[in-house]
């Protein structure tokens, strides 16, 4: 068993940490307060190479493994969940399906500009009536005169309505199987297609400087060749995408937990009450011991899940476990971290409240904690 990161993974960790501390930390309070997506930071993250981490260099990607990708997301999340979300959604949900399922023409057309971060791509799965129950999808795609005609709507789609968004992959009902079940297909839709509208969702509690959108399709016509992979593969493409996506949400939980822990520890070392730093009170010291232990356990679980994926072994169960555990670990840690800050923890100025708010998404997005437990329970013989 070798727990040592490779030289490249260590360099990556250092460079992303450095970048996040110097470029993201100074501006995040304002971006969060004003609920602003930053094209400037996105461009810088693209320049660093964060927008196509696992994609093959043949298409302009970095050709790194999944663990490297998760380390990058972890380090971004240690400073800010919103920028981590922009990167994670773009990598896992935006471009991975195109690389994994797209044909050469689609890859050559889309991937180079998506990998540099010049453009962003979304992944439209969730609908107002299809959350945990992805089978409740109502958006339809019908073939007509060599085109797909799409009608319906999507909700909570990350990166889908920024100035630099190129388009989204849309899962839709494309017909009925011979056994009577709905047939799902994924179709690439560019934002400037007539009948398509992407609208930014405002007043969020979480990820305030990440872009979240509602998508509307009113007789949106795209060429037949915009079909991703084969007709009828939409459901499996979505499941595979989510297996990978869960790893990056887990990385966000881990990094967020680490960031909140460090902030709270620093505060507790500096804040004095009853004549000594509050970290010296055993009641607090034990809190930190528990937090540090949970973070190590979360990291071990996530890194092993990444290792399974990178080694070509099954990883669905472990990715669900990592997503569940890292998200909930961060939940416990931000709760304690705000407690350590006391009254100041309730003030946005101290930065820990943002971690507290941002964590809640992780229990909900890309499969709720309840759905993760369902996935895990089915895989262990329940």
């Amino acid at each position: 068993m070798d727990f040592e990161l490779t030289t490249e993974q260590k360099l990556l960790k250092n460079t992303v940490r450095d970048f996040a501390e110097k470029e993201i930390a100074p501006v995040i309070e304002e971006l969060d307060r004003e609920e602003m997506f930053s094209t400037d930071l996105t461009a810088k993250m693209g320049e660093l190479g964060l927008m196509g981490i696992t994609i093959s260099p043949d298409y302009g990607g970095m050709g790194m493994d999944y663990l490297s990708y998760c380390i990058a997301v972890e380090e971004l999340s240690r400073i800010d969940a919103s920028q981590a979300a922009t990167v994670a959604a773009h990598n896992s949900l935006g471009i991975s399906p195109i690389e994994n399922c797209g044909n050469t023409i689609q890859k050559q057309k889309y991937l180079p500009d998506l990998c540099t971060g010049k453009k962003l791509w979304g992944f439209g799965l969730t609908e107002p009536n299809a959350g945990s129950d992805a089978g409740g999808t109502q958006t339809t795609a019908k073939q007509d005169k060599g085109q797909w005609v799409i009608n319906g709507s999507k909700i909570f789609i990350t990166n889908a309505s920024t100035e630099i968004t190129w388009g989204s992959t849309i899962q839709a009902i494309s017909g009925t199987n011979s056994d009577g079940r709905k047939e799902y297909s994924c179709i690439l839709v560019e934002n400037d297609t007539p009948g398509f509208e992407a609208k930014q969702m405002k007043n969020k509690m979480v990820w305030r400087s990440s872009n979240t959108s509602e998508l509307y399709f009113d007789d949106v016509r795209v060429p037949e060749e915009n079909l991703l992979g084969n007709r009828g593969e939409g459901f499996h493409q979505m499941l595979n995408t989510l297996d990978c996506g869960r790893l990056s949400i887990a990385a966000m939980g881990l990094g967020g937990a680490q960031g909140a822990f460090e902030k709270a520890l620093k505060y507790a070392q500096e804040r004095s009450q009853f004549g000594k730093p509050i970290v010296k009170f055993q009641v607090n010291a034990f809190k930190f011991a528990d937090m540090a232990t949970e973070i190590e356990a979360a990291r071990a679980l996530l890194y092993r899940a990444c290792w399974l994926k990178d080694s070509g072994k099954p990883f669905s169960k472990e990715s669900a476990m990592a997503k569940l555990y890292c998200s909930e670990t961060m939940g416990r840690i931000v709760n304690q971290a705000v407690q350590i800050f006391g009254g100041y923890g309730l003030m946005e100025e101290y930065g820990i409240a943002r971690f507290y708010r941002d964590q809640k998404l992780l229990d909900i997005g890309e499969g709720t904690s309840e759905i993760q437990r369902l996935v895990i329970s089915r895989m262990i013989g329940c």
Binding site: E8, L11, G49, L50, M62
Partner: protein, 250 residues
């Protein structure tokens, strides 16, 4: 333009350094090592000059196996080649380090040799000037602005209370100071490209240290502050203490 950058691996500034049991060194096991921040400036400057003058940057470093991570950092920033001068440990004596570096630098026919003005661990600030003496070429130290043409450099350097502008012919040595540039981040592309570069290993005769560390100690702990009282009543006593004890006012 053929550019060499001498780099050193040093403990991360955020590391809590612990003195070893024999008080002769520090506990290295728990330390996160990084590329010396002043050397990062030198690498950046080398890369900028190489880009402007179609040159090539070679990084050189001397030390044990662990220093390869610092070399890889410089390669990931964009350096083209690397030479690792292998030793069991870093010499304590800047004279020994400079002699070993000079042996390798002589073979390389470099137009410009860049290095940080000092390493943040032992703070000797001597390698640049000693190399200048050994190689018989001029050195500009503590440089905050640098212009390079085909055969000479113009450098602005910090001096007490001002700046000095100097000019010298190439080949030359420049030691770098904060303000010279803003080092680039090692990009992911750079990290992957660096993976393919073979680090050349060299073994040279390193002279014995002429200095010896007798003892390493922590700085004395700050005495706790003193509260002399509260409100206006405390002011006379405070003034008396500032005059008589702290001697900061008269």
């Amino acid at each position: 333009m053929n550019i060499a950058v001498c780099i050193k691996q040093v403990p991360d500034t955020e590391t809590k350094v612990r003195v070893s049991g024999d008080k002769k060194w520090i506990e290295e096991g728990e330390i996160n090592f990084i590329l010396n921040p002043y050397d990062e400036l030198a690498v950046e400057e080398g890369l900028k000059i190489a880009e402007a003058h179609s040159g090539e940057v070679t990084v050189l470093s001397l030390g044990p196996d662990r220093i390869t991570s610092a070399i890889r950092s410089a390669l990931a920033m964009g350096a083209n080649k690397a030479i690792h001068i292998k030793t069991d440990k870093n010499p304590l004596d800047p004279m020994a380090t400079a002699e070993a570096l000079a042996q390798v630098l002589r073979e390389g026919n470099y137009d410009l040799i860049l290095l940080g003005k000092q390493a943040i661990d032992d703070d000797h600030q001597q390698i640049g000037p000693i190399l200048s003496e050994k190689l018989g070429i001029p050195a500009a130290n503590v440089v905050t602005k640098l212009e390079v043409s085909a055969d000479k450099i113009t450098a602005e350097r910090q001096i007490e209370g001002g700046f000095e502008k100097i000019e010298c012919a190439l080949p030359a040595i420049v030691t770098t100071q904060r303000g010279l540039n803003e080092p680039r981040y090692a990009s992911l592309k750079g990290i992957m490209a660096a993976k393919k570069i073979q680090i050349e290993e060299k073994i040279v005769t390193v002279p014995d240290d002429k200095i010896e560390i007798l003892e390493i100690n922590y700085p004395p702990e700050k005495p706790p502050g003193k509260i002399v009282g509260e409100g206006a009543d405390a002011v006379p006593e405070l003034i008396r203490l500032l005059k008589e004890e702290a001697k900061v006012i008269s």
